[in-house]
Amino acid sequence: MSDVVMQIDGKEVKAGGDMTVLQAARAAGIHIPTLCHHDKLEPFGACRMCMVEVETRGRMSYVVSCLYPVAKDLVVRTRSERVDKIRRVILEELLAHAPNSPELVELAREYRADRDRFDKDPSFCILCGLCVRYCAEVKQKNAVDFIERGALREISFIPEIAKKECWECQECFALCPTSYAQAAYFLTEALAFPGRRKASAQSA
């Protein structure tokens, strides 16, 4: 697709026609915060942190930049009072689940989010899907996936697959913004196939 010219934060930006707003902004050196984005993975649109204000033909709306395609003459604002407020509320909600996640705490400082605004519900997982998608798309092992729905939704390492695949990999641990993926894996290991860790430590 042909290149388009658009405006991000008042700056003329040229972008490839098949890019997303997030890609165009990053290529132009403009920072947009993200939690669920990973360059090797398909855009997911789960965390909503990359929400920006876009204006086309005089109409303004709020979109997630990691999914929104670039368009000719699009006007994008990555920081505005309302964008900041949206991000602040998202952070406050996520902090109820993972109050000490370094990434969240850092962003909370920038957006003046109140960590204690909502009652704590420490599930530790913010459902960004990085572990799930990395396992499926990059490693193609599908050892971890979402189960249940709505408020009960959580990640779950599938013992049958995790037993065979996870020992050698464990790459998703480093992607997790809250270390919960690691905790969930070790719990699965302890419940479904314990003993291996001890055995390998003794033989080493």
Binding site: N142, D145, I147, E148, R149, I158, E160, I161
Partner: protein, 150 residues
């Protein structure tokens, strides 16, 4: 559920990942629950990762990963039935069956669940047993209705 029947359902959809929900529904319908080894068979036949089968099977309320009793009792707790005394009705059903919503009794006779709304507001409060609607229920009538289902 006999395995020939099960194999027949699965074979009809072999190699078609898009049929996942259909297969799960057919098995759920006949067997009333989805045993884990059956989910493994389905994953293998349809060429889908097992984790995705679990994701779908846990997402929808239609599917049960635990065994159900011979008779499935649903008590409507929708707004219309609620106003007509669904709470007292549910209490009576719980007393008669000895179980709470979501549970199955030790003899596998009943599985109890609530639903809102079960779609028959004009004849509420109602309970549905194995798909049969029992209209204008009262706590006093519960015992007689459930007697029919052994």
């Amino acid at each position: 559920m006999d395995s020939a029947n099960l194999d027949q359902i699965i074979e009809q959809h072999r190699g078609k990942p898009g049929d996942l929900i259909h297969v799960l529904m057919e098995v759920q319908h006949q067997n009333h629950w989805l045993p884990r080894d059956v989910l493994h068979q389905i994953a293998e036949a349809l060429n889908i990762p097992f984790s995705r089968v679990l994701r779908i099977a846990t997402l929808y309320k239609t599917f049960s990963l635990t065994p159900k009793g011979r008779n499935e009792v649903h008590v409507c707790t929708g707004i219309s039935c609620h106003l007509r005394g669904a709470n007292k009705l549910l209490d009576a059903v719980e007393r008669a069956t000895g179980i709470k919503p979501g549970e199955t009794d030790a003899g596998w006779r009943f599985t109890l669940d609530t639903g809102s709304c079960l779609g028959s507001c004009s004849i509420g409060p109602e309970i549905i047993v194995n798909g049969t609607h029992h209209a204008r229920m009262t706590p006093a009538k519960v015992e007689d209705v459930l007697k029919e289902y052994q």
